[in-house]
């Protein structure tokens, strides 16, 4: 236990800001996962690899001299087609089967993508420089890297755009209908096959955006995708499917909790602390549910 954060309270501000900015970025990835989980009932183990692949697109723009921030436009477009093709090649064969088969299939995609990225880009750790500078607050005591700020703002914009798209557009309505009841949607003339392909594509596109943001805020490596999968999985579990404000809130909450546990319990326990919290939340939720069931009886 370390009480530095209580001795120097300004660190709390720093920890909260870092946590919120980190959480928003994770929430974007989690939102894509929640979307396709809700619509297609598929848990995508390859989510993190799609993120990293999106990051490499931004990195290559950086290498050829284009500012990597433009990756947030180019990467989702390319990644949409990657996602769409993945659906046509693999996912459409497992979409109606049980969850276990789809987990296996996406696990396979994840390993394959890792190896292909390693083959194509090499196993070096790479970064893209945004040169966005830093915002200083409270007499230089609190620093906010502008690249993280940029990442958070872009994530929020994309999340809002997606919500609007889901509400207003024809495809968005079809996706929501399919999520509620695929058979009924099919009977009413919704081409569910197309809806599934589009959903998988949209998820991959969101991963593309997140990946480009990660390229300018963190580091890229073919094998570093798994933490993103695990984190988004946790956020979705806490928030539940089809609950966007919930995803955003649980993303930020987990981010802040993680930063604080770093200060209090030590860096080596920050990830363990988050998992422990997850266990508590699940147990608590079960406890609440069982009480509700008793009322119903």
């Amino acid at each position: 236990m370390d009480f530095l954060i209580f001795q120097i309270p300004i660190l709390m501000v720093q920890a909260s800001i870092d946590g919120i900015l980190l959480g928003i970025l994770f929430a974007l990835i989690a939102y894509g996962m929640a979307l396709q989980w809700g619509v297609m009932n598929i848990i995508n183990i390859a989510q993190g690899e799609l993120v990293i692949l999106g990051g490499y697109i931004a990195y290559f723009m950086y290498v050829i001299g284009i500012h990597p921030a433009f990756g947030i436009i180019v990467s989702p477009i390319i990644m949409y087609f990657v996602g769409w093709s993945l659906y046509k090649l693999v996912i459409n064969r497992v979409v109606d089967r049980d969850l276990f088969i789809s987990i296996l299939a996406t696990f396979g995609i994840s390993i394959l993508t890792q190896q292909l990225m390693n083959f194509a880009f090499g196993s070096d750790v790479v970064i893209a420089q945004s040169n966005f500078g830093t915002t200083m607050l409270f007499n230089y005591m609190v620093t906010i890297p502008n690249s993280k700020l940029f990442a958070a703002v872009v994530s929020i914009i994309f999340a809002i755009l997606l919500v609007l798209y889901m509400r207003r557009s024809k495809l968005g309505r079809a996706i929501r209908a399919t999520a509620q009841n695929p058979r009924a949607a099919k009977i009413l003339g919704v081409d569910t096959e197309k809806v599934y392909a589009a959903t998988f594509g949209i998820n991959a596109a969101l991963c593309g955006v997140a990946g480009s943001l990660i390229a300018i805020t963190f580091t890229l490596h073919p094998y570093v995708g798994l933490p993103y999968t695990v984190r988004s999985f946790m956020i979705v579990i806490i928030a539940g499917l089809g609950n966007l404000p919930g995803v955003a809130l649980s993303g930020m909450g987990l981010g802040v909790f993680e930063e604080f546990s770093d200060y209090i319990f030590g860096t080596e326990f920050r990830i363990a602390a988050v998992f422990l919290l997850l266990v508590f939340i699940l147990v608590y939720r079960r406890f609440k549910l069982s009480r509700k069931r008793e009322y119903l009886k």
């Binding site: 120097i8 660190l11 920890a15 980190l22 390693n118 196993s123 580091t219 094998y223």
Partner: protein, 411 residues
């Protein structure tokens, strides 16, 4: 029944023939000495695996071109059987077994990384096969009493000790406050042990001791603590990812610390990827081309650097240099033993005391190279060009250490 018996005896005789002939044939075939190596050509270590292989190959070619290895008055060429260990320790152990049992290799070269060397060493040890390795620095390799393992590189705990000594020296011989952030893997934790020992030796205080989880991509919390506590030295080790993350976030958060020392600066191409943000960072390295060691095969470091660059199209990282040195050690040992008997070669290896372009090599009883110090270099920029310059030990230094690191407001 008769036919079955015949088929059975046919297969038994075939396997017996294979069992007895193959191994004997392949340790020295005709005028070629066959060495075995499993290196990572795919998987997460593939880049460094490639450096290792290129270093081995270049040395083999050079030794063969210069007359090969003379044993018993006869000249032999060197050759290496490679397998891809896929950066997986289980696979590496299997391949060691295969090289020894199936290919009959009697002399092994090491893989890339401490983890894979740790996986292979028990196999070579059990079969009493000498292994000269160039890329496994973990201290635990040298505490198990291995007799057939020889490492040409300095052990992991030696990496950053020099930095602490340097910080104390710059502080007028007074103890310093140390902040450390180490990844939780075998190598980085060994580096940490070295720093802790150096702190105890100099009476310095460790005020931050963060252990970064492997999957962590973010050091913001650690750096905020550093900012708040103002240590004299910040020490970071977490492979390439750790080095790149640290520099990125130190620059973004404008963390001012008089001395920043880290590992894996050249593996992560820190000076190239981060440019001016990496300036003044101190890095521990096994080798640098400007060191003035020399031998009759590669000349000195500069010459090795040039020839390697001509051959493979990129400047050699120290992983390539130390791998090449492993072959020079083998050649000397064969000639010293004047035999291919593995026990005699082992004993000759144990008595190695030589200089190569990579550094002096002399093994302790545990097989650790004790004759070569680590070097520290500092990233220095001229205009927009940044490069690694040797600053310690003073004997080899090409540039003077800049200390303390200028604050971000003046950079």
């Amino acid at each position: 029944m008769n036919i079955l018996k015949k088929i059975f005896s046919f297969f038994v005789s075939i396997s017996l023939v294979l069992f007895f002939t193959l191994p004997i044939q392949s340790k020295v075939v005709g005028d070629t000495i066959v060495l075995g190596a499993a290196v990572s050509l795919t998987g997460k270590y593939s880049t460094n695996g490639e450096h290792t292989k290129n270093g081995y190959n270049m040395a083999v070619q050079r030794i063969n071109d210069m007359g090969g290895v003379t044993v018993g008055g006869k000249s032999y060429k060197l050759d290496i059987i490679y397998y891809d260990d896929e950066s997986d320790s289980g696979r590496a152990a299997q391949l060691a077994e295969r090289l020894i049992k199936q290919d009959g290799v009697q002399f092994m070269l090491g893989p890339y990384s401490s983890g894979l060397t740790k996986a292979m060493a028990p196999v070579t040890e059990e079969n009493q096969i000498p292994m000269v390795e160039a890329n496994g620095a973990s201290r635990s390799l040298f505490t198990k009493g291995y007799k057939y393992l020889f490492a040409v590189l300095s052990a992991a705990n030696q990496y950053l000790e020099v930095a602490i000594d340097l910080a104390v020296e710059k502080n007028g011989g007074n103890p310093v406050n140390i902040a450390m952030a180490f990844e939780q893997d075998a190598f980085s934790q060994d580096v940490r042990i070295g720093v802790v020992e150096a702190a105890e030796r100099t009476g310095s205080t460790i005020i931050i001791d963060d252990k970064l989880p492997k999957e962590l991509n973010d050091m913001a919390a650690t750096l905020a603590k550093v900012k708040a506590t103002k240590p004299d030295v910040l020490v970071v080790s977490g492979h390439s990812k750790g080095a790149l993350t640290a520099i990125r976030q130190i620059a973004e958060m404008k963390v001012d610390v008089p001395m920043l020392a880290m590992t894996h600066c050249d593996a992560s191409k820190l000076a190239k990827q981060h440019g001016k943000n990496a300036e003044y960072a101190l890095c521990a390295a096994q080798w640098h081309k400007t060191l003035s060691y020399s031998d009759s095969f590669f000349g000195d470091g500069q010459q090795f650097d040039k020839e390697f660059t001509d051959l493979y199209g990129y400047a050699p990282p120290y992983q390539a240099a130390e791998s090449a040195a492993a072959l020079l050690v083998y050649k000397a040992a064969f000639e010293q033993a004047d035999s291919f008997d593995k026990e005699k070669v082992r004993d000759a290896l144990a008595q190695t005391d030589m200089q190569t372009f990579y550094g002096n090599i002399k093994f302790s009883d545990a097989g650790q190279n004790i004759a070569k110090p680590m070097v520290l270099f500092q990233v220095r920029c001229e205009g927009d060009e940044c490069a690694n310059r040797v600053v310690a030990p003073t004997k080899w230094a090409s540039h003077e250490l800049v200390h303390p690191t200028p604050s971000w407001s003046t950079r």
